[in-house]
């Protein structure tokens, strides 16, 4: 049994001396976590971003002023929406085409007039196809404004219409009644209030940096275990396998040692990622140390199994060197390492449950954002261990069929 450990530890030593594996397994995930975290943090916490727009106010009337001064100029919006006033539609199109503004707002000449006289009118919004998210925000703001104006027209129009039809008011009175009624309408409050409730799966909203520390960290376990599995082939090439076989070590011990090496490399790598992200990115991996340890072990086991299976299915170092990282990236993505799985479409959500990544990520997130503690991760741990068992059995079976060949 001691030989199993010796072979494993030797593999770790060899890895540790190879600077390129250091880059692949430690520097790279840390950089990716940083980039992804920085990009998505403002989005996830919905920090307001600034939106540049251009406005062409041909109307210059009462209502266009309300929109520009009281809506866009309001406390809430004045720091978020930056307005540039322009003189022509061409100028707007030009600015949009340059990508300088997200949208251009055109208030036509007759806008205020049309509102007063009850004619149809529209505010035109020209959006940059590359900034449809920001343009969409502008669209909603302007639409809310027009709806507010429309509200007055509808209430006034409906009531006047019916009362006139019923001969309850004299058409001659109308001009005189309008301002009175309008002031009444002005103060009407919305009748329907919406109560938005988030059905929580987690007690806190995940921070992007923390989410990607988990997602990337888990994805890179597979990179690490693959690198470990490659050593089976490397050792064959360097003829050191031959040498181990000549020594009084059983085939079972060699295989066990190699698999232990795979596990150990990935374990170290992942622990280092947890450690570094905790210190440098201040990622809080949760309060339950026991839970974290259990999750680390079961995830690393599952991925070690996967790589063993992969090694048993490939023929050469090059093959596993090429398929391995590709698989790691695809699994990383499908398991929710790059994009939260709960935002997946149904089919992908289903498929993702076949990857160890999904369960590992879910488990870690539970520890980070739920109060359940160790007990709550039981399903994830069981699935991961189950996967580990299946992968290992198949992999070892196939590897033994092939024999740890020496040629």
């Amino acid at each position: 049994m001691i030989k199993v450990f010796l072979i494993g530890i030797k593999d770790v030593k060899i890895r540790a001396r190879d600077p390129s594996s250091f880059i692949i397994l430690l520097v790279m995930p840390l950089i990716l976590i940083l980039v992804l975290g920085m990009v998505f943090q403002p989005l996830w916490t919905s920090t307001p971003f600034t939106i540049d727009i251009a406005v062409l106010d041909e109307d210059n009337g009462e209502f266009s002023k309300i929109l520009l001064d009281e809506v866009f100029g309001s406390e809430q919006l004045k720091d978020m929406v930056k307005i540039k006033y322009v003189e022509s539609k061409e100028e707007i199109i030009n600015e949009v085409n340059k990508g300088k503004i997200a949208a251009g707002v055109i208030i036509g000449k007759e806008f205020s007039q049309a509102i007063m006289t009850g004619e149809d009118t529209r505010i035109k919004i020209l959006a940059d196809p590359e900034q449809t998210i920001k343009a969409g925000v502008i669209k909603n703001i302007v639409e809310a404004f027009t709806l507010e104006v429309l509200k007055r027209r509808i209430i006034l129009g409906t009531s006047m219409g019916i009362l006139v039809a019923k001969n309850l008011i004299n058409p001659a009175e109308i001009q005189q009644l309008i301002p009175v009624w309008l002031s009444e309408i002005e103060n009407m409050e919305e009748l329907i209030r919406m109560d938005k409730k988030t059905e929580k799966r987690m007690d806190k909203n995940p921070l992007a940096m923390e989410y990607y520390a988990v997602g990337m960290g888990v994805m890179y376990i597979l990179f690490a275990t693959n690198a470990g599995a490659e050593t089976i082939f490397q050792e064959r090439r360097n003829k050191t396998l031959e040498r181990i076989k000549v020594a009084p070590v059983s085939e079972r011990e060699i295989l066990g040692g190699k698999l232990f090496g795979i596990f150990l490399i990935a374990l170290l790598q992942f622990v280092m990622i947890v450690f570094f992200t905790r210190i440098f990115y201040r990622v809080n991996w949760g309060d339950s140390i026991l839970g974290i340890i259990i999750m680390i072990f079961s995830s690393v086991l599952a991925f070690s199994g996967l790589s063993t299976l992969l090694a048993s299915l490939t023929k050469s170092e090059e093959q596993i060197g090429n398929i391995g990282p590709a698989l790691a990236m695809i699994f990383g993505f499908m398991g929710g390492g790059m994009w939260p799985a709960f935002a997946f479409p149904d089919w992908l959500n289903m498929v993702s449950k076949f990857t160890p990544n999904r369960w590992a990520i879910d488990g870690f997130l539970k520890l980070m954002y739920q109060e359940g503690g160790v007990v709550s991760i039981l399903p994830e741990v069981l699935v991961l261990l189950g996967m580990a068992t299946v992968f290992f059995s198949l992999g070892i079976f196939r590897l033994r069929m092939k024999g740890v060949k020496v040629d």
């Binding site: 940059d128 409906t158 009444e184 009748l191 109560d195």
Partner: protein, 408 residues
Amino acid sequence: MIKKVLVIAFNSLKVTFRDKGNLIWLIIMPIVWTTLIGTMSTTGGGDEKIPVGFLNSDRGIYGEVFEEILRKEESIKIVAMAEDDEDKMRNSVKDTKLSVGLIIPGDFSEKLKVREQVVIEILKSQGNSSYFLEELIEKTAHRISINALAANFTVEKISERRVVLEEEVLEDEKERIWEEAFVKADAFFEPAPSIGIEYVVLSVEKRDENIPIGVEASSPGFAVMFVMMGVCFAGVAMVQERHHKTLARLLTTPTEKFSIISGKMLGFFLVGFIQFMILILFGQLVLKVNWGNLPLGVLLLVVSYVLSVTGLGTLLSVVVRTSAQAGAFAVLISMVTSMLGGAWWPIEIVPRFMQNIARFTPQYWAINGFNKIITRGFGITEILPNFYVLLAISTISLLLAIRFFRFE
């Protein structure tokens, strides 16, 4: 001399494509990746309708009116829930089987009629972006609210008037008038609100509804990323060639140094160029991605972009010592610069300072250029700046690569 350059380039092309592993990374992986991510981000844009749970406990009819108006929206699908299914709906929302859930209370109609505020509940799930749906529901609620206000106002005014005329208004007449006013008010919203907005996206043409927006956006982005990766991997091959000493042996043949270097670089360029063409063709033919109507412009961008990454790939191969290192850097550099350059997500969503960083990556200029052609429908003149910037990046990186080129 030209002939030797071509022979060297063709030879490294042969060596690159003969390696099965390279094929995985050059062709198969980008195709799988683009398809996967494309279909994922298609939700909401494609044929699939977003499921919205609707639980109506209203004793009156206006809950149903709410549902009817909502049903007219093409992008959503109403899933009606029975009154005692509230927990079931909550769970469905939690598991994202329903994008949002809506609960109309029992006194909805009653309260509307007496002009009292009524609360409807919107359930959403954590992390699921339902912003668009909330807007939609809010708009509908607003519409019903306005109608109800109009109806109440009308009834009030009629009562006032009748009091003046000393007539009494009967309760069931009030009811009738209320309903009539509601319908009349609602007519203001059909076919479109009489005061409203006209929203035009300044893209080249109306989208064909069958084209998944997700793939369309991700295809150029990921093509750009994987081409950089591909060229960098060709750089890895040159590290191997240094290791095999074939590069040094070339110097013993009567071949000019410059021919060797340009031959090698031409080889890298061709690898990237061929890969890009395959990915464009795959996108256009299989994923039905629209690559715009300016083949010449696309070609200019492809050529200048591939040139710029050729320089970077060569530089990489010159800087690193072992092919394992080169491989690691190839993936790292191409992924990170692609993320920064906007290949993974629209650049508009990232903070301003990161948008500025993006300008230092060739990916940004390529993607920006493709967008000019694909979404904005621009001509050659407008993409020339992108072309020039990419050429500048190419010149600098190629010169550096030539300066530091190592044969051993």
